[in-house]
Symmetry: C2
Subunit: 253 residues, 2 copies
């Protein structure tokens, strides 16, 4: 039996319990979606930073034009930064060949919770299939939802459910799920009913609707960034898995 556990917040699992496991860090709205976009657009690497000042100092060490500052506070672009946290800002023109020094609180905290993991992948709906393929040989899989300021957010749980659905579809008996994994799979089943899965014409509207009614979705609507929701809802779009290296905090494809 392969172990497949979901954790709805970093505080619900100790770093020791993640030791030696393949961990997927999830921050669907929007850090892991945006980082996937950035690497797909040809960014050389993303460096995750907790603090804004730290990000500024780190970016200053690069040569002119080599690094860009990206990230958000309260959902909005940070003053003096080159980029915010909207997936579509990260185009080949803006980020191609460059390092992105990226400051986002919840996603970075979740990544740094995985220092003892065997591998740390970043997951979002846009690269779900690629993440599941990368987990094919793993016997201990932990899906770690970032949440927001210590609160469980449904958008992250939905991705956990989407990954569990795909991982277990071929052999449901081959996995031992914890209760959070079962709950996540239930949430996914309700968000995207079986009869709406196979056609993009029904799948995309269902996922956009689901993401709109999440803590992150409501917040994006409140601050005028709801255009980011459809970009985060594009299931299985990028064949790319960002991988986080805890000592250097570098994220590469």
């Amino acid at each position: 039996m392969r172990e497949l556990k979901a954790h709805f917040l970093p505080l619900l699992v100790s770093p020791e319990k993640l030791a030696g496991a393949a961990v997927v860090v999830i921050d669907v709205l929007r850090a892991t979606t945006t980082i996937t976009h950035a690497l797909a657009a040809g960014a050389r690497e993303v460096i995750a930073c907790l603090e804004v000042d730290e990000a500024r100092q780190l970016a200053a060490r690069f040569g002119k034009g080599e690094a860009l500052l990206g990230g958000e506070r309260e959902g909005l672009k940070i003053e003096g930064f080159d980029l915010g946290n909207s997936p579509t800002e990260f185009t080949p023109e803006s980020v191609g060949g460059r390092t992105i020094v990226f400051s986002t609180t919840n996603g970075t905290r979740a990544m740094m919770h995985c220092e003892q993991a065997k591998t740390v992948l970043l997951g979002a709906l846009v690269n779900r299939a690629a993440v599941c393929t990368a987990l094919a040989g793993e016997d201990r899989i932990h899906l770690l939802c970032a949440g927001t300021r210590g609160e469980i957010t449904r958008e992250d749980v939905l991705f956990a459910g989407a990954a569990i659905d795909m991982l277990t579809s071929a052999n449901p008996e081959g996995f031992e799920l914890n209760d959070q994994a079962i709950l996540a799979a239930d949430a996914w089943r309700v968000a995207l009913p079986l009869n709406q899965r196979n056609s993009p014409a029904t799948r995309e509207p269902a996922l956009i609707r689901a993401l709109r009614n999440t803590q992150g979705g409501r917040n994006l609507r409140r601050i005028g960034l709801e255009a980011d929701i459809p970009d985060a809802a594009r299931l299985d779009t990028f064949d790319l898995v960002p991988c986080f290296d805890p000592p250097s905090r570098r994220i590469t494809a």
Copy 2:
């Protein structure tokens, strides 16, 4: 808009956030189910205790035959106690007219987390409708899942979903739900699909199946107490709401 929030564990909400609210404490397998059974069987009151020694000392203060010791450790009856934590042990013959000094770790901890609440009700599938009726006039409702040793348990989330389903059915727009409340409602919808709800012949098997595949259900099966699962699955059976008084730790109907 009425506030309707679920919390999958006590550690996910501060006691201050519960101040002034109507809180429903949930420990479906089995404390809140069993306490409902005990009061329905005519027990005079239940007193919640965290520690076994504390329960023994408290029971010793009562006159001969007035109080019984009940509760569990690791699911099993405590040595020297009169009763374990199986609902059907609490019959009119065994508990009628008596005080039950009851020691159970997770349920008691969750109750003691509500010291600042306006009212603290105990909820289980067996008294779901009665709990929802009791909440009719409340504008701030918090559903607090006990979990097990700091882990989210699906059986408690399922009850939260069952309560949310009933509370919001007449007027879905009248409530503001947090993401955990939406997730709980999703879990309930998957556990008991609409087409299986109206007949006991389909409802009970579905709920038994759902409870068997929860952390508490798996544990009961492991220790040979799976007969308790159908007793906990009998939806809307008792028209009785246990009410917890934090200062005295007394639970009465």
